[in-house]
């Protein structure tokens, strides 16, 4: 079975400070992992993805994530938060390698709040 745990339901940071959103996964197979972002009343947008290439993955808008197999983690970071980063973030795992036809497994989401 596969599962994703986002360790914080809410994270609040000041504008210009670093962002850390934590994600741990469980998978019977070598996983592919994603981070999606959802702005208010919008659909989900792909931020970045890990598919067994480089363990440090760079995404859009200055975000990056590091795949750590020993810690079963895929934490999302950004050096300096911007007000426009305020949104809901989802960590996602694909159930099985190459078998994505039956969809993704989503974490419950982390709500990122940016304080001015």
């Amino acid at each position: 079975a596969q599962s994703v745990t986002q360790l914080d339901s809410h994270v609040s940071v000041s504008e210009g400070t670093p962002v850390l959103l934590r994600c741990n996964y469980s998978s019977s197979y070598s996983p592919s992992l994603f981070w999606y972002v959802q702005h208010p009343n919008k659909g989900l947008q792909l931020l970045l993805k890990y598919t067994s290439a480089a363990t440090l993955v760079k995404g859009i808008n200055g975000f990056e994530a590091e795949f750590k197999k020993s810690e079963t983690s895929f934490h999302l970071t950004k050096p300096s938060a911007h007000m426009s980063d305020a949104a809901e973030y989802f960590c996602v795992v694909i159930p099985k390698r190459g078998g994505g036809a039956d969809g993704l497994t989503f974490g419950k989401g982390t709500h990122l709040i940016i304080q001015p």
Partner: protein, 113 residues
């Protein structure tokens, strides 16, 4: 460049009514999906399709039906609406498998009263 288009954006239904949520994509994607999102939860897969004429159940299919007569369209049907179906519904598509990443619609917020 429309991507994935969902209609309607909002809808209120009475218990027992039926409705169809529309989803259209213009990217010639083979794979299409329907998810529901409940407060404080991630998305749950309702149904998916790997191509025209082929559909399959996801994690939470009860109370829903789908069809895929064309590559572009993947409507979701609620036959007898129940309060438990109050949710935000997202349609998504992908060119190949999920590893390619999904394109999501902007969602339909459904309330059943």
């Amino acid at each position: 460049n429309a991507g994935v288009t969902q209609t309607p954006k909002f809808r209120i239904l009475k218990i027992g009514q039926s409705m169809t949520l529309q989803c259209t994509q213009d990217m010639n994607h083979n794979y299409m999906y329907w998810y529901r999102q409940d407060p404080g939860m991630g998305l749950k897969l309702i149904y998916y399709s790997v191509g025209a004429g082929i559909t399959d159940k996801g994690e939470v299919p009860n109370g829903y039906n789908v069809s895929r007569s064309t590559t572009e369209d993947f409507p979701l049907r609620l036959e007898l609406a129940a309060p438990s179906q109050t949710s935000v519904y997202f349609c998504a598509s992908s060119h190949g498998t999920a590893e390619d990443g999904y394109t999501f619609g902007s969602g339909t917020r459904l309330t059943v009263v």
